[in-house]
Amino acid sequence: MRNLIILLRTYYRFFVFIFIFIFCLAIFFRNNNYQYASAIHSARGITGSVHKKKQNVWAYLNLKKNNDSLLAENARLRSRLGIKLKNNPLKDTAFSSLVSEDSVKQTIYYKYIPARVLNNSIDQKNNYITLNKGTNDNIRKNMSVVSAKGIVGKVTHVSENYCLASSMLSSKVKISCVTPNGTIGNVSWASEYDADYVVLNGIPQSEKLKKGDTVLTSGFSLFPKNVMIGRVVGTASGGNSGMKRYKIKLATNFRRLNFVYIVDDNTTFERTIWEDSIINVSNEQ
């Protein structure tokens, strides 16, 4: 016992260090896991408001660029669906898109909720984006997030006024996509450090994709159909035999993300909940 006390007194610095160090590492590895991602700090009130103040200043500096891109987008959207809508879309901050239309009854599938990016990262293994809309604006988990140019990510955590979206630049995010010929593949972020490129997987050898071919979402995952993902720039190494991999340049610039839209899609929710319930039941049996 006496020897133990002497040992502790001689090396107490080391023991204290090891104790704190392992404590920190345990927190890191527990939260770094994508499945247990409880890194919802920036979705909470205090940090959210700090990020909001920070974003106010930075948004002011980029005001001209943002205005230009918003004007261009407004013009494009108005030309596309301004005539078809009965109610004035300008009176609504959240405008709606018509997918299937009838001469008698118009069905609204997708609703786009505009949101502002408060915090964004591109250098982590799993990157998150903080947005300024929460449960007060009917945001739910697993809603998809798109920007004016293409896909961004999906909502993973929601608080009252803020939500956290896992961006496309996350190692575990896989999105179903379709090539110009109609082949279904999936897109994931393989490089883990390059914020401009993703990799297209699961394309058979027989199919040849040319440089500059567009890759769109297929509508099988949470994203709406025919949202731009990016353009093919060349083949990528690795992958299974029999399947080809292509390098894709993302349409969205994740370095300059300021305004995004959260897609409220009732049909997809119904479908995924139904699919999950069937899979769960068949697993239990």
Binding site: F17, W58, K125, R255
Partner: protein
């Protein structure tokens, strides 16, 4: 007491600078070197590096833990900043005695500033500490054997900028007249 007030002011200034400006620089600047996005510059290890040499060990560890958790809280990386800063705080007395020739225990309180250590010793001390901190930080962040060159690349580039910023901050926080031995 004056001294303690000085450290609090410095803590607030450096944290605001790191969280409000440096954490955003990486996202906003579209600068690319060899196709790899430029990392976040980290200036906060400076807060630990400039503490007096005879500071209480537990106070220093607690201070490192608080700084680390604050940064983690704001950058969504639980435990990443905290663990690397705690490692740096543990190793600091050893590194300091490597680059400071006189026996520290005999002298008592020494502020490891540029004017006290001398420019060359200070630069070696800062560089070595930052190297240890950044190497651990980026290894933990990337965490794969596949990307070892990326870790070294990030460490080197981020380290150069951090050492430069800490050296410049020495001119801001201390002047030649206000040396207190």
């Amino acid at each position: 007491m004056n001294n303690r007030f000085f450290y609090i002011i410095q803590f607030v200034l450096v944290m605001i600078f790191q969280i409000m400006i440096l954490n955003t620089v990486e996202v906003k600047s579209a600068v690319l070197i060899f196709g790899i996005p430029v990392f976040i510059p980290l200036i906060y290890p400076m807060l630990i590096l400039i503490l007096p040499s005879n500071i209480n060990y537990f106070v220093m560890m607690l201070y490192a833990l608080v700084i680390g958790f604050l940064l983690d809280y704001f950058s969504n990386t639980p435990g990443l900043h905290a663990s690397s800063l705690v490692l740096l705080a543990y190793l600091r007395p050893r590194i300091l005695s490597l680059f400071y020739q006189q026996d520290i225990k005999k002298i008592g309180s020494v502020k490891p500033t540029m004017y006290r250590l001398g420019f060359v010793s200070f630069l070696f001390y800062i560089t070595f500490c930052i190297l240890v901190h950044h190497l651990f930080f980026y290894t933990l962040q990337v965490w794969s054997f596949k990307n070892i060159p990326l870790v070294l690349f990030k460490t080197l580039l981020s380290g150069v900028i951090t050492v430069l910023m800490i050296t410049i901050s020495q001119f801001i926080f201390y002047s030649n007249k206000s040396i207190k031995v």
